[in-house]
């Protein structure tokens, strides 16, 4: 007969061995993945084996990253961790975002006055250089501004908007109120960007501020109902659903075409402002104008010849640009994070153009090169 003590020990030993050998077996048997859909990034692959790589310690380091990225049930474990953080440790954040109910909010905290003042100074430099017909400035509120509870650490984004409003030599169009009433349907649940509905509201306010008559009445097409927003993977919360992206249509928007100037030597054109993302794409938001590019030019044959809008912008502008483009023959979107200012000044035609600076308060506050 086996001693009683040995029988008692079997459980612990069995659990431990099942744990380490079970997960090892799963790691070995599970095919290596190229990308993480939820985290929207490429996953590390098995590192290069070479004498140099091994002796430098590079192989050991890279193998550690590979093991973490390719860990069995990685997504499920990230959700487990998030749940424990919020239920056991009573945290309201996970990976730098607030998962609250079925929505995720970014942590907007800490005002970088130096970034804000630098952005304002550079906007004025651009305006002085291009002498636009009209100049406008507007700031996209962060979704987090809709949080009302003191439990969340949240800076007042007026600390970004007000100095820019006061210093930039452009007409200011206030959009911050869009988030004040709560995010509602103006923002995706797990992505910081505007929904199409939110973009239409923003467009209405922008158009009125720019002296334009907003166009209403659109047909809506569901592009996807499995949109993995950029905050979905950070939140890793079972209570947060995937988002739906809708595209707005009317005859004018459907008649537009775009050209994406991706490098000085490479321009790619499409006959729609909506560019279906390839199956391997990790970001369905790229459907708007084909995603980020240094310069994107929208052509609207239905608008009066010679009317031209140049938007200095970040990604938030992509959803709203097709609506504003209804009023201009040419709308040029410039992302100064990806192109030097001088190249833009030398190559974009500003003659008679309106200029709009449209930036998220969050981008201005966290990226020193948002306006370079």
């Amino acid at each position: 007969m086996r001693p009683k003590l040995a029988n008692d020990a079997i459980g612990s030993v069995a659990v431990f061995l099942a744990f380490i050998f079970g997960i090892t077996a799963l790691n070995v048997l599970t095919p290596t993945k190229d990308t993480s859909v939820y985290e929207r990034r490429a996953l590390a692959q098995f590192p290069t084996v070479s004498v140099e790589n091994v002796l430098s310690g590079g192989f050991a380091h890279d193998f550690g990253v590979f093991a973490q990225d390719q860990a069995a049930y990685r997504d499920e474990m990230r959700f487990v961790k998030s749940a424990v953080e919020r239920t056991v440790f009573q945290k309201v954040t996970n990976n730098g975002v607030y998962p609250i109910g079925d929505r995720v909010y970014d942590q907007f905290h800490g005002i970088r006055d130096d970034y804000v003042s630098a952005a304002g100074r550079r906007m004025n430099e651009i305006l002085a250089a291009v002498q636009p017909a009209s100049a406008y400035l507007s700031l996209v509120p962060t979704k987090a501004q809709g949080l009302q509870d003191d439990r969340y650490l949240l800076s007042d984004q007026h600390a970004v908007a007000d100095p820019l409003r006061d210093s930039v030599q452009a007409d200011y169009v206030d959009l911050l109120w869009l988030a004040d009433a709560g995010p509602g349907v103006r923002y995706y649940g797990a992505d910081p960007h505007w929904t199409t509905s939110g973009a239409i509201d923003a467009y209405g306010a922008l158009a009125r501020g720019m002296g334009l008559d907003p166009v209403t009445g659109y047909r809506f097409e569901q592009f996807t109902d499995t949109y993995v927003g950029s905050e979905y993977g950070k939140a890793a919360s079972w209570s947060v659903p995937l988002d739906t992206i809708e595209l707005a249509h009317n005859d004018v928007i459907d008649g537009m075409s775009i050209c994406r100037i991706e490098t000085a030597d490479r321009t790619v054109c499409h006959d729609s402002v909506y560019v279906p993302t390839p199956p391997e794409s990790l970001d369905d938001y790229d459907v708007f104008l084909g995603g980020l590019a240094p310069i994107v030019e929208i052509t609207n044959p239905a608008a009066p010849a010679g009317s031209h809008l140049v938007m200095f912008k970040d990604s938030y502008a992509h959803a709203v640009a097709p609506f504003l483009a209804q009023h201009y023959r040419t709308t040029t979107l410039v992302d100064l994070r990806y192109v030097e200012r001088q190249y833009v000044l030398d190559n974009v035609d500003f003659d008679g153009a309106d200029v709009l600076f449209l930036y998220s308060t969050s981008v201005i506050n966290t990226d020193s090169r948002a306006v370079n």
Partner: protein, 464 residues
């Protein structure tokens, strides 16, 4: 490779367990040596040569010492062992500090050697010295088998972060040791607790310390919150690693000495150091303090002995003067405690002596963890309201709320309460056979979940 890494848990550990337990008994030491060398080479593919040279040289010197014990040749061999071991440690760990100090003092610009610190060199050097010194003292015979000695020095569970296992402690186990399901299960329990301490508590609360250091809105409250977080982080980090080492040792049939005994419940610094990193304290006591004369010497000689020991203890932790100051700080407190402080504290309610100890230790962590004088003075200035920072602000309140449960849990878990509750829990068969394994499984799974989603997994004592 650290124990709390996926490559250790799901690559190295399963492999070494299978290889070890499948191997015939006579091959188990060579298997463990090979595994340990692979483990070390994973992180130090070049410096493994240094460790092997050190092992081999001291293997030979110990044989000479043993063969000529009591004679001049043995003394010379011991001297050579000390010089070689400390010379390598000094060169690889302290040469940069020495050169930069000389440069500062003399206003010259000697080039400091650009050397990476070999992982674990402080630990294995002390183990080697304990071996040759004990052989010289006649406490143990020299090891005739190179493989056995090399396995002792490089044994992966304790190689890079201790506990510092002295040769005489496990010499019998090196030759022959018992393996059983009970021992393995004990090891599993200890390893699981250590992994959870490290991954679920230390790494998690370490983020709060990181936030306190990196804040752009410092406040008195956040500075104190940060140092409380580091106080917990370093305890759970290091004691968790020691638990994992002891647990792994148990799985392979070894019994390593304990390294921590709830140090934060101490009432004096002297008691704290009897409970914190015990294997290091015992090493310095046996190989430095007592040879210097210990306490059975005139008062001022004793004061010198204490300061020397704690100066060296501080420097052992890192090649930077802040560590030396950290060590001397504790030495001075021990001298004061012996002179009058302990007697004074004992007359007060216990809460005051506990508060004194916690405050003394928390302050020490500022100049342990922050390396430059500016950083240390800035942080201390903020803690004591001398920097102009507000008492509190929104970030401090937020981080306090965000980490409150973790802090409370950490404080409770740092006391013997858990062990007390564990002892008082009903020892029914259901508990032993089902609940304990289930709890261990849950902790392992949670640790895995945290490791998978963690980019913050430092090991604080790795640099020593």
């Amino acid at each position: 490779m650290v124990f709390s890494s996926l490559e250790f848990l799901f690559f190295f550990l399963p492999t070494i367990l299978v290889a070890y337990f499948v191997a015939p008994t006579r091959f188990r030491n060579p298997v463990l040596l090979a595994g340990s060398l692979f483990f070390y080479a994973w992180g130090e593919p070049v410096y493994i040569v240094l460790m092997l040279v050190s092992i081999t040289v001291n293997y030979g010197l110990a044989l000479v010492i043993d063969a000529h014990r009591g004679r001049r040749r043995a003394r010379l061999a011991l001297l050579a062992s000390v010089v070689v071991s400390l010379g390598l440690l000094g060169y690889f760990k302290y040469a940069g500090l020495l050169v930069s100090t000389v440069n500062s003092l003399l206003g010259i610009d000697l080039a400091a050697p650009d050397l990476a610190l070999p992982i674990g060199i402080s630990f294995y050097t002390f183990q080697i010295l304990s071996y040759t010194i004990d052989v010289s003292r006649g406490n143990v015979p020299a090891q005739r088998r190179w493989v056995t000695l090399a396995m002792y020095i490089s044994l992966f569970p304790q190689l890079i972060a201790g506990p510092i296992v002295r040769y005489k402690t496990i010499v019998g186990q090196l030759a022959s040791r018992t393996h059983s399901l009970e021992l393995f299960a004990e090891g599993v329990g200890r390893f699981t607790i250590g992994l959870a301490k490290k991954v679920l508590i230390a790494n998690n609360i370490g983020l709060l310390w990181q936030a306190a250091q990196e804040t752009s809105e410092p406040s008195v409250a956040l500075a104190w919150l940060g140092i409380v977080a580091f106080t917990l982080q370093i305890y759970f980090d290091f004691s968790g690693y020691s638990d994992m080492a002891i647990g792994l040792g148990r799985m392979f049939g070894f019994t390593f000495p304990e390294n921590f005994d709830h140090p934060y419940v101490s009432r004096t610094v002297t008691e704290f150091w009897r409970r914190w990193h015990m294997s290091l304290g015992q090493w310095f006591r046996d190989y430095v303090y007592i040879p210097l004369g210990g306490s059975r010497v005139p008062y001022w000689t004793w004061v010198r002995n204490v300061l020397v020991v704690w100066f060296l203890t501080g420097l052992w932790h890192g090649a930077s003067w802040n560590f030396a100051i950290w060590g001397v700080y504790f030495g001075v407190l021990m001298i004061l405690e012996k002179a009058f402080l302990r007697a004074f504290l004992e007359r007060l309610p216990r809460v005051f002596s506990h508060a004194y100890l916690i405050l003394a230790v928390m302050l020490s962590w500022t100049f342990f963890e922050l390396t430059t004088a500016d950083q240390i003075l800035d942080y201390l200035g903020t803690m004591f309201g001398l920097s102009g920072a507000p008492f509190s602000n929104a970030e401090a309140v937020f981080l306090f709320q965000e980490n409150l449960v973790l802090i409370v849990f950490g404080i409770v878990a740092a006391t013997p309460v858990m062990a007390f509750l564990s002892r008082r829990a009903p020892q029914t068969r259901l508990v032993r056979v089902a609940l304990v394994p289930a709890a261990q499984g849950a902790l392992l799974l949670l640790s895995y979940a945290y490791l998978v989603d963690s980019s913050f997994n430092p090991f604080l004592y790795f640099r020593f």
